[in-house]
Amino acid sequence: MLSHVNESGLWLVNRFLGLTGKQTPQTWTVMQTIMGTAAFAAVLLLSLFVQRPVSVRRTDGKERTTVPEEFVNWSGSLRFTPGERSAPRTEEEVAAEVRRAAERGLTVRPVGSGHSSVPLMATDDVLMSLDALTGLVRHDTAARRGAVLPGTGLADAGRLFAEAGLGMENLGDVDYQAIAGAIGTGTHGTGLALGNLSSTLVGGRLVTGTGEIFPFGEDAGEDAGEDLVRAAQVSLGSLGVLTSLTLRLVPAYGLHRLNWCTHIDWVLDHFGELARANRHFDFYWYPRSDDAQVRTLNEPGREPALVPPGARLHADETGPGHEIIPNSRDLRFDEMEYMLPLEDGLDCFREVRKRIKERHRQNVGWRVLVRTVAADEAMLSNCTGRPTMTIALLQNNELPHEEYFADLEPLFLEWGGRPHWGKKHTLTAAGLRPLYPEWDAFQDIRRRLDPQGVFLNDYLRRLLEET
């Protein structure tokens, strides 16, 4: 930059342009210095806007350098860039990654398909994808058990179990979640006698916060009702990384779906009857018309004759349970869902309906979904200890949802609601603790398995740790 007398370039310019010894440093040297400084400043400025490469440790132990990729969840409402991404292919690699992160004081968050609309997976540190850990580990058709790897998609799990003559007793509306994520957040379908997906977890294997491989429940030769299973069933990835999940299954079964449209008043008048008569029953309410879509699923030949007057049939299909239960459309939305005591659920729904019609339907055109879930015993299941009715608010992901959800959430809480762990809500540990009789027992187990808090990101800390 500071071109001076011992540099050959200075003398070349001096001779070619016929300059004096004094003129050259006054012009050429000054110009070059300005150019160099400006270029340096420009590169420095650019570097502020270009992502810096970071080191990513591959599972084979070799370092490679890459630009961190932004993570975007299914609805698009959640974005973050992890410091590192990891994609272990074996349980041992999961354990090694966790130990390495623990030694460096980093947080590890496992992620499945990213369907959740809350930042359970958000981290500046290590985002661990379980995509490479998929498939059926073993099955026992007679004992009605099957074990799968954590990254197995629900649709794939359904197909694998069906090939073994088995099926999950229920599924949710969509089947593109990874099974560990679906179970870890208490994903549910509908059916008065059917528990959420988590309630079918009877054992498995965890990599704990100290990097130990920890079999629990039936995988450890213990009873499915023991405390560790009841803690692991809905654990939000806070006890460890699930590396294998053993599920209670049922013999493969077929289902007949009927979706029909009728008026919401008829549905409310016949809710109890519909819920008792059908294996699965739920309904959507459309706030801008008071129409309702009733959806029933039953095993062929075991179907009630209850059909609403003037109903318009929207769907009529029969097939294997795991293909018929998922029934969603690819419309992206954000969602708040609360679990209410079954006996109070309809009264709560009536207030929700009134509130939406009075205050929100100017901007809310999408629907409200009402389902039922059987009681279970998981420590952090929002259906623990009580038969449940669920009410879900769905809002187009491109439209604002904050004011709508914020206005309805206190209503759900007044009725004794517990939030869905994977959907939008604003509760933190202080508000959640009174809702769960075994809250403290869960936290004790969590601190025992993850003493350093390797699996706690900021969001989970607010959720699980009282300040």
């Binding site: 008026h263 801008r288 008071d290 100017q362 809310v364 999408w366 187009n396």
Partner: protein
């Protein structure tokens, strides 16, 4: 079977959309609404795309509606949700494009004053 053949245009424009935010009476019969009425007299199904324009933001769409051959279809604008719900109580306009000629009109039902009032707006056929 009638042989009307295709009638109308492939592009229609409605500048005066406005769905009343309130209403009276039992729903869905008396819900205040705008209803897009599409008539396809031709022998092929019509794939119709609706784009909604606003005063203060970029257009939203396309909303897709299929109208069978030799059929009419009345679609409540209130009920459109994909890609997103059309807000009530604000001015909007709509451009309707179809792959075959159709005839389009917009019907408004307003039940705010305890009575049923309706109005009909013919669309403007437009050439690109």
């Amino acid at each position: 079977m009638s042989t009307l053949g295709p009638l109308g245009r492939t592009t229609w424009v409605f500048p005066g959309g406005h769905i009343p935010a309130a209403g009276t009476g039992a729903e869905p019969e008396f819900t205040s609404r705008d209803e897009l009425c599409l008539l396809n007299s031709g022998g092929d199904d019509a794939q119709v795309e609706l784009t909604v324009l606003y005063q203060d933001r970029e257009p939203v769409g396309p909303y897709r509606v299929r109208v069978g051959a030799r059929r009419v279809r009345h679609v409540r604008v209130n009920d459109l949700i994909d890609p997103q719900a059309v807000p009530l109580g604000v001015p909007y306009g709509a451009v309707v494009r179809s792959d075959v000629p159709v005839v389009a009109q917009l019907t408004r039902v307003d039940t705010r004053r305890g009575k049923l009032s309706t109005s009909v707006a013919a669309g403007y056929p437009a050439e690109v």
